[in-house]
């Protein structure tokens, strides 16, 4: 029978930074297809992943999130041709800031999620949830 999922309280809290036009539709699609991922995953939508302030990541982890996932626009970004590189740099900077504060940089993860990436998103969430539980 169905495995009993650990309660929401016990599961790692994940903040996802997602983008209005590219990754949001992918995450929405996961819901439309009734795919399941941890309810401790919460999404904040912004225009472009190249605009994520590393301080937000830090703030999130200090405020009580266990991990931050950056759903990057990847090559599909309509704003910045170098969006992927920029977002990667932001993730690295955030990880650097974490290290400085003695936090595990693995609490920040980034992957390109496009508008139909429902399955990749869900599997990222499952893996990240698992990885964070082990930290």
């Amino acid at each position: 029978m169905a495995t009993v999922a650990p309660s929401g309280e016990g599961r790692p809290k994940i903040l996802v930074f997602s983008t209005n036009n590219i990754s949001d539709p992918g995450i929405d699609l996961a819901g439309s297809q009734h795919m399941n991922y941890s309810s401790s995953v919460k999404v904040i939508s912004i225009p472009c992943s190249g605009g994520i302030n590393p301080n937000w990541v830090l703030h999130a982890l200090e405020a009580g999130f266990d991990g931050v996932f950056i759903a990057a626009d990847g090559g599909d970004c309509a704003y910045l041709p170098d969006c992927t590189t920029r977002t990667a740099r932001i993730a690295e900077r955030a990880q650097g800031m974490l290290k400085e504060r003695g936090k595990d940089p693995r609490r920040v993860k980034m992957a390109a999620i496009c508008s139909v990436c429902s399955e990749p998103f869900v599997s990222h969430m499952r893996q990240f949830t698992e990885a964070l539980s082990k930290l």
Partner: protein, 577 residues
């Protein structure tokens, strides 16, 4: 920023949300949030009746912000923004919270957890609205005039189209004559129309228009201003400088034919010519094709000269791209040659015959008319020699299992591709990015193929990449359509969700200017004692790319400010009461 009266509306979506989320709990939690004046639930918030009810609530409760927790904003953000507007509320004081696709549907088997998450999401939405400010679209008055740079076929046709839709048009051509390459090339594929004649027709039409001013022997030497309202300085005949006020710029500077290096496929040997040179020969032929004083009986075409090149030691910066038009141009030229002299023997040494689309018919016809096509392998290019007075082309024929054959030729035609035109000054003035091949780069090949990162500056024709005549014209008209979208109404409304600078915090380090890809969007300005950054709302695209680079968090993206995001984060982790 507090003291706002916010309404929180929570949608059941039939049972799509309420079957998995305890709506009443969410409503009660929302009601307790600071700033929330009223919280209600609706069975279908998108229904006309619910919208009426929301409008009434907004007006009665004198709300200055609302949050609707329903489906994905992709479906109803516009619906509810319009509803907010109807109620008299600023549409940007509305936040949509996705509790369907990102909550109820994703957590169908955990009602309690889904309810908890929905509460958090609504709180975050409230936090965002609470810190929001009313915003209005930025309206920019536009100047009903356009500049076309380049008076080739693309530029000339663009000028006429711009004039058709009522714009004043200035055409600036560097050369003394209009028309670019086409007038010397005789009959053009696929319709065999004479290039010079076509240019003549266009020029006559342009001359007939009062609204078009044509400058030849002229160059653009300066540009300032922004979309809809540029000032452009044109230098005419090297001396006179004229300043024009225009709303949009179409860059149609064309291409150069690839100039073969000395010795490249025998170039430099007598009897080895480029395709453009051969075109002129054919255009001028009279009953017989002659080269110098000799009649031409055997012609060998060598394709892909200057295109699809491989990087080699002697050639570190090859043209990797395919020039697109040359295969068709070559078979078409061969057909013209057939037309002049039926007895001419023509051999085509090619790699892939790229006579795409309807041009396939020309390829077929050339074969029928006697042209012989020999495919050579990428790594075995033909060799052009002049061993003893006559030209000989040696090539390994793929069809004959790689056997080498030698073809004696009276004329070897190097089917040369297109290269970007030398335009250093213009590039410098317009600050247009160029692609790997050196052509002007569009923002996005599919979404925005004629737009550039500089709003209001469009690229057209072969300046953007190799194109045929018809393709150049189509792209120039596409550029006009984007210009018309900008200028025809007399104004443009730009969304207000752009970056803004906190003048108190900013210390001008220049990082934002460095990171911004949009020319002129960030400027250094002096404010009282200090220098600070100023973001031009008309040039900013609202990506927020400058936000993370600011060391002092002095840049905020409207609708997504540092304070808003942090407040949302706090709201998302705050323990449920």
């Amino acid at each position: 920023m507090s003291g706002k009266r916010i309404g929180a509306f929570i949608c059941h979506c039939g049972g799509n949300i309420s079957d998995y989320v305890d709506e009443e709990k969410v409503r009660a939690a929302a009601e307790k949030e600071s700033g929330v004046a009223v919280a209600k639930t609706f069975i279908f918030s998108c229904s006309e009746a619910a919208q009426q009810e929301m409008i009434r609530t907004i007006q009665e409760e004198k709300l200055d912000g609302i949050v609707i927790a329903s489906c994905s904003p992709k479906l109803h953000l516009t619906t509810f923004r319009a509803m907010a507007k109807r109620s008299g509320l600023n549409p940007y004081m509305y936040t949509q919270v996705n509790v369907r696709e990102q909550c109820s549907w994703a957590h169908r088997h955990e009602r309690e957890e889904a309810t908890g998450k929905a509460i958090h999401l609504v709180r975050a939405g409230v936090a965002r609205t609470r810190l929001g400010v009313p915003l209005t679209d930025l309206r920019i008055e536009t100047t009903p005039a356009a500049l076309v740079v380049g008076a080739g076929v693309a530029g000339m046709r663009a000028a006429l189209a711009l004039s058709d839709i009522g714009m004043a048009v200035y055409v600036v051509e560097r050369a003394a004559e209009v028309g670019g390459r086409i007038p010397r090339w005789g009959r053009m594929f696929p319709n065999d129309r004479d290039g010079a004649e076509m240019i003549g027709t266009l020029l006559q039409a342009i001359r007939g228009r009062e609204g078009i001013t044509l400058f030849t022997d002229a160059e653009v030497v300066g540009k300032s201003g922004s979309v809809g309202d540029f000032s452009v300085v044109v230098r005419v005949r090297g001396v006179e400088e004229i300043t024009l006020r225009i709303g949009a710029i179409v860059v149609a500077t064309g291409f150069d034919p690839y100039p073969p290096k000395a010795g490249e496929f025998g170039y430099g040997l007598p009897g080895v010519v480029t395709l453009p040179e051969f075109r002129e020969l054919v255009a001028g032929a009279n009953g017989q094709i002659r080269y110098g004083d000799r009649e031409v009986r055997n012609i060998v075409y060598v394709y892909c000269v200057g295109s699809r090149q491989a990087a080699t030691e002697g050639h570190p910066h090859p043209n990797l791209y395919c020039s697109r038009f040359c295969c068709t141009a070559a078979v078409h030229t061969a057909l013209l040659a057939n037309g002049i002299d039926d007895g001419v023997n023509q051999y085509h040494l090619y790699r892939d015959m790229r006579t795409y689309g309807k041009s396939e018919i020309l390829f077929e016809e050339a074969g029928r008319k006697g042209s012989v096509f020999v495919r050579y392998a990428d790594d075995a290019p033909p060799v052009v020699e002049r061993p003893d007075g006559g030209l000989l082309v040696r090539v390994r024929d793929g069809l004959l299992g790689g056997e080498e054959i030698g073809i004696p030729a009276d004329l070897v035609v190097l089917v040369t591709g297109m290269v970007p035109r030398e335009n250093a000054n213009l590039v410098n003035v317009l600050k247009l990015p160029i692609d790997a091949g050196g052509f002007f780069n569009e923002i996005h090949p599919k979404l925005r193929p004629v737009e550039t990162v500089i709003d209001g500056v469009f690229v057209a024709g072969a300046a953007q990449g190799p194109k045929t005549l018809a393709e150049s014209v189509a792209s120039s008209m596409a550029a006009v359509s984007k210009g018309a979208a900008l200028l025809l109404k007399g104004y443009v409304d730009l969304p207000p969700l752009v970056a803004k600078v906190d003048t108190e915090r900013c210390t001008w380090c220049g990082e934002c200017e460095k990171t911004c890809p949009f020319d002129g969007a960030v400027e250094k300005v002096r404010q009282g004692e200090k220098e600070i950054a100023c973001i031009h709302p008309a040039l900013c695209k609202g990506c927020g790319g400058c936000v993370p680079v600011c060391p002092v968090e002095a840049i905020d993206l409207e609708g997504c400010t540092n304070a808003q995001v942090k407040a949302m984060i706090d709201a998302l982790v705050r323990e449920a009461v």
